[in-house]
């Protein structure tokens, strides 16, 4: 019986060695240590042994079973290691293959500019005011100190619907409406929107374009406040190193009126093709709200003053991104639009 046991052990050891997979090994385990295996048989057969031999033989069987189990476990671990190794090798990929694309849309470059300006002014406590694109002549012109017969409001320049209704030619009617609605209270607003003029579309003209204007009305609003505000805006849009300068100009709805230039962001002021060798780039028009405009909206211009400014997001986008033709903004070629994915922050 003892010999039998040792022979059995040799046999199992050999089988274990020959097992090359976890499954084979498991088969060996079942075959030898299982309920129907020879070791179990041996244990069962112990009853036939003389009583004094039983403990000794029992210990021997257990010893063999334990050592077989131990070797089985060792072998199993080795095989598992091998299997994992093999799996890892099989699973290896070419990490340079293209990823699964995430299709992202993006906003239109003009929205990008408009929202940047909106957010800047929101951070300074401004509200965003909006109004109709089809306007009454009164709000588009008359309330802005452009009475009937004024040369600047030629029928040829505007899209009229009837004699008294037209597509707004600027976003200023929103200012007029806001002033009227505020009934004497102070105002800090930004008015973005689409506007329309009777121009033939070419590289620098578009019959439809966008504008963004600002208006502040209150007691003791001064031209220095306008200058400080525009200075911050210029730095926000075109970089902290930008300087601004104001030049006298003329708009019917402001007095004094100014145009604002910024120091050229390309050459820094030494002169280049972007600034036409002047070192300065014209960005926007502004001024102190004309007393007639304040008065028509129900303010007393002796007590209340205000400033207003307006600019064209198209022009700003063209300067910022180097776009040379205004029509790009309205053709919606995805090869153009999709270039404005990237965040700038």
């Amino acid at each position: 019986m003892k010999e039998q046991l040792h022979e059995l052990k040799e046999q199992v050891m050999l089988k274990i060695k020959e097992s090359n997979t976890v499954k084979d090994l498991n088969d060996v385990r079942v075959a030898y240590l299982g309920k129907k295996g020879p070791i179990t048989d041996l244990l069962k057969g112990m009853g036939k042994l003389p009583a004094e031999e039983r403990p000794k033989m029992g210990a021997l069987v257990n010893e063999i079973r334990e050592s077989v189990t131990e070797i089985l476990e060792e072998r199993k671990e080795t095989l598992e290691q091998q299997a994992i190794q093999e799996q890892l090798e099989n699973e290896s990929i070419d990490v340079t293959l293209p990823g699964r694309p995430v299709e992202l849309g993006n906003h239109h470059p003009l929205t990008r500019v408009v929202e940047e300006i909106e957010d800047f002014f929101i951070s300074m406590g401004y509200e965003i005011a909006e109004g109709p694109e089809v306007e009454k002549d009164y709000y588009n012109f008359e309330a802005l100190n452009l009475p009937k017969g004024h040369p600047a409001r030629d029928m040829q320049d505007s899209f009229y619907i009837t004699e008294d209704i037209l597509l707004r030619t600027h976003t200023s009617p929103v200012q007029a409406r806001t002033m009227e609605a505020k009934d004497g209270a102070s105002i800090k607003i930004i008015c973005p929107g689409k506007v329309y003029r009777r121009d033939s579309d070419d590289a620098t003209h578009s019959h439809q374009f966008t504008q963004i204007e600002g208006l502040v009305v209150g007691e003791n609003i001064r031209m220095s406040d306008l200058k400080g505000t525009l200075d911050l805006l210029a730095k926000k849009l075109f970089g902290a190193e930008r300087e601004i300068r104001l030049r006298p100009s003329f708009f019917p709805f402001t007095e004094p009126s100014v145009e604002m230039d910024i120091s050229c962001f390309k050459c820094g002021g030494t002169g280049c093709n972007v600034c036409k060798k002047t070192g300065w780039i014209e960005i926007l028009g502004a001024g102190m709200v004309h007393p007639n405009v304040l008065e028509m909206a129900g303010y007393n211009p002796e007590e209340v003053t205000g400033f207003a400014f307006g600019m064209g997001p198209e022009r700003i986008a063209m300067l910022k991104y180097g776009v040379e033709d205004i029509r790009h903004f309205y053709t919606n070629d995805i090869r153009f639009i999709s270039q404005f994915h990237r965040s700038e922050a």
Partner: protein
């Protein structure tokens, strides 16, 4: 306005500055100098030559061989101009000379004959053809005989001059004259200016004895001054006058006309010269034209007039269209000996109207339209009379014939220094303000701490206190204004909830893979109402520029489809675009159209495209539907969203749905009709458009936390065979109604139509999730609820259960 810096020197001494510095100072003070033109264009080595001898080239019909004295030296030059002749003084570009555009003159042989340079036309010296006197327009320029061969031709022609190009704002019509510019430059540089001195000896004969004047239209013509000059010799003007006019962009004609133009540019007062004898009646009557009255203007065009238009007549017929153009019948010509000089104030609105109606805009009409200086009307006439005496040998008759009801009193403006400083945010002393007024030559008194100003009539743009603030600020210097920020009663600022939601919608659509498009609001009649969500009257332009853009759109889809076709034609084949913007419907009570903000989107081509792993999927209805559902989920409205099959013009009848928010129809979604796709050169294309305003204005419940489930849920799947026409939504509705409160979720997970199901039916499978927040569900609970569902499906949808 073109300002010759040489001419400007006659009135104000700016020469301590370079022209560039002068231009910069003028720009900073408020008149934008758009450019500086150097009239010498870098030319060199161009002299006056005398043609000693001129013979025909033996080998070429059109060429002449000239022996030209170029100053102590005779040069042979071949000339092809038709008007070359012996005994002329001409402009010679010598070998080595450089012409505008950098052309270099070299010695050459022309048909075997040597040519040492070129005899030049004015055009070849860079003068625009329309400015060259008519006599020399087609050939070389011939100089008068008082010049000397060998002298610089550029000096003689006044071409060593630099021109400032002014871009004038409409208010600064005062700078439409050299004197006006001189006042401005004088103010900027703190310099005095020299006004022309007018003196001549008048004849004993009185103007009013030879000419009668009556003004009938006094409102449109409040002032009329006529001077009479006799014994005039009409001839070419002296060179300096011709040069000056050309520098200002005016073509020289003859001395009389040139003088009126010179004074126009000098004073900003348009003048007209009549031939006294051709007036015939010795009378001038200013009146409105008779309706249908005809006259031939200087440009030889017969014009039919109306009774609003102001005319100058000889008492019988019109001799000039007031302020716009003279008549051919009274024009000064070579034989004219007696001239009537007209200087008048014509009402701006009258001239504007007439000039627009007849389609003529001239240097004269643009000045009248802005309003000329009432105090210069008479003076300009005197100035012209003086020049006619000096330059045309005329004798000026004594006095003038005048009608004058024009108000010439200066306006008074009273301003306190505080008012100025409070509006500028500065502290400028009153004395400094007074100094600025002195520089501007605006007479100003300081009375009781206030500036009391008499505004000269030449500055008609200065009307209110704010105008004077601008004058003070611009001459004090805008750079001196400090930078501050406004302090107003504080409001929180920020976006309105509506504006914030609009941004959420845009962000969502972009994250979903759509890019924002921006298209035009104006559409063609064909597109204006296509795909519209509702039927409403259209809003049309009175005077569209083209039919293509004549009506305000009622739907965004047509223009998005245009953009898609544009892209597809350029091989951008997978397109996903959206746009938010207004559409224009009908007319509201206030007369304006109803503007409603919509959102629209278009999808075509591939939606998923990941080729090397074999994933590629075209867009379909459900991609677009998923985007819409996601949008509603983002806005907290998903459980109130429904789709029902719909028929929409230009859309696929089997693949189009109406989008419902509660019981309100808010949009459409579906495939573009295959016929329309074909017309627009598109493959399978899906669109949606929704009333964004309606969606965003729908109130949603406040966001409240719902407890995270503590008990497990149980799922059961069911597979059904139903009629092909039974919709998923209908089945879902039945399931939900029957499932009771334990049924939390119903999800369709399989759909099959084909081989293994009977014709006219389809197989659908749903996964149902049961859940009770209060306790763990038992099998019994679920079986009870689930069998109700099965019964309902069998009864209500005639469904057969599949095992």
């Amino acid at each position: 306005m073109l300002v010759s810096t040489n001419w400007l020197s006659n009135y104000v001494d700016w020469n301590e500055l370079s022209v560039e510095e002068l231009a910069e100072k003028i720009t900073r003070a408020g008149i934008e100098v758009d450019g500086i033109i150097d009239r010498s264009f870098g030319m060199d080595n161009i002299v006056i030559g005398y043609v000693n001898n001129c013979v025909k080239h033996p080998e070429a019909d059109k060429l002449h061989i000239c022996q030209v004295d170029v100053g102590g030296e005779i040069s042979q030059i071949i000339c092809g101009a038709p008007n070359i002749a012996e005994g002329q003084h001409v402009i010679v570009a010598r070998p080595g000379a450089i012409l505008p555009g950098g052309m270099k003159i070299k010695k050459a042989k022309l048909r075997g004959e040597e040519s040492n340079g070129m005899i030049c036309s004015l055009q070849e010296l860079g003068i625009e053809g329309k400015l060259v006197p008519k006599a020399y327009a087609e050939g070389i320029y011939v100089l008068p005989n008082d010049v000397r061969a060998g002298d610089s031709a550029l000096t003689h022609l006044g071409l060593y001059d630099r021109i400032l190009e002014f871009d004038l704002t409409p208010n600064r019509s005062d700078a439409l004259s050299m004197l006006g510019v001189a006042y401005e430059v004088g103010a900027i540089l703190s310099k005095d200016i020299k006004l022309p001195e007018i003196s001549y000896s008048a004849s004993a004969e009185k103007a009013q004895d030879v000419l009668k004047l009556s003004v009938e239209a006094t409102e449109d013509n409040p002032m009329y001054v006529a001077k009479v000059v006799k014994n005039v010799k009409v001839a070419e003007s002296p060179q300096w006058l011709q040069n000056t006019l050309m520098s200002a962009g005016i073509r020289p004609h003859n001395n009389v006309v040139d003088i009126t133009n010179y004074v126009l540019m000098e004073y900003g007062q348009p003048l007209h010269a009549f031939d006294y004898d051709r007036l015939e009646t010795k009378e001038i009557v200013v009146r409105h034209a008779r309706e249908g009255e005809k006259m031939v203007t200087l440009d030889q065009v017969e014009r039919t007039l109306n009774d609003q238009q102001l005319v100058i007549t000889n008492g019988i017929e019109p001799v000039a269209l007031a302020g716009v153009m003279g008549g051919a019948n009274s024009e000064v010509h070579e034989g004219t000996t007696m001239v009537v000089i007209e200087s008048a104030y014509f009402a701006p609105s009258s001239v504007r109207q007439t000039s627009k109606e007849v389609g003529l805009r001239s240097d004269a009409s643009t000045r009248f339209e802005k309003g000329v200086d009432p105090n210069r009307v008479a003076e300009a006439a005197e100035r012209a009379a003086q020049l006619m005496a000096e330059l045309a040998g005329g004798e000026v008759l004594d006095g003038s014939v005048t009608f004058d009801e024009l108000d010439k009193t200066p306006q008074k403006i009273i301003l306190s220094p505080d008012y100025v400083n409070n509006r500028l945010g500065m502290k400028i002393a009153m004395d400094e303000m007074k100094t600025i007024m002195d520089r501007l030559q605006i007479p100003t008194d300081l009375i009781n701490g206030q500036l009391v100003m008499d505004i000269p009539t030449r500055r008609q743009d200065l009307k209110i206190k704010e105008d004077m603030i601008e004058e003070i600020a611009r001459l004090y210097g805008y750079d001196e204004i400090p930078k501050t920020l406004p302090i107003v009663e504080s409001t929180p600022g920020g976006l309105t909830p509506y504006q914030a939601k609009r941004r959420i919608v845009r962000r969502y659509l972009e994250a979903a893979g759509l890019s924002q498009a921006l298209t035009y609001s104006l559409a063609s009649p064909k597109d204006a109402q296509a795909f519209a969500l509702e039927t409403a009257p259209v809003t049309k332009l009175l005077m569209p520029m083209s039919e293509e853009r004549s009506i305000l759109r009622q739907s965004i889809i047509p223009h998005l489809l245009d953009a898609t076709t544009y892209n597809v034609a350029r091989r951008n084949e997978s397109i996903a675009l959206y746009e938010t913007g207004s559409v224009f419907l009908g007319i509201e009570e206030d007369g304006l159209p109803k503007e409603v903000e919509h959102v629209a989107a278009v999808l075509t081509g591939k939606w998923v495209h990941h080729a090397w792993q074999g994933e590629s999927k075209k867009v379909d209805f459900f991609v677009m539907k998923g985007i819409v559902e996601g949008l509603f989920e983002q806005l907290g409205l998903l459980d109130r969203l429904q789709f029902t099959k719909a028929t929409v013009d230009q859309m696929h009848p089997g693949r189009t749905a109406t989008v419902w928010l509660d019981d309100q129809s808010v949009g459409i979604i579906g495939q573009v009709h295959p016929t329309v796709q074909k017309q627009r050169d598109l493959q399978e294309t899906y669109v949606m458009e929704m009333n964004l305003q309606a969606i965003m204005q729908t109130a949603i419940e406040e966001l409240l936390y719902e407890a995270v489930p503590r008990y497990p849920s149980i799922s059961r799947d069911i597979a059904l065979v139903v009629d092909r026409d039974t919709t998923a939504a209908n089945l879902e509705k039945i399931i939900k109604q029957a499932g009771g409160k334990l049924l939390k979720k119903v999800q369709l997970f399989d759909l099959y139509e084909g081989k293994n199901v009977e014709g006219g039916t389809k197989s659908v499978a749903f996964s149902l999730t049961y859940f009770d927040p209060e306790r763990t569900l038992t099998d019994e609970d679920v079986v009870k609820a689930h069998s109700k569902v099965l019964d309902a499906l069998t009864v209500q949808a005639n469904a057969q259960l599949r095992s």
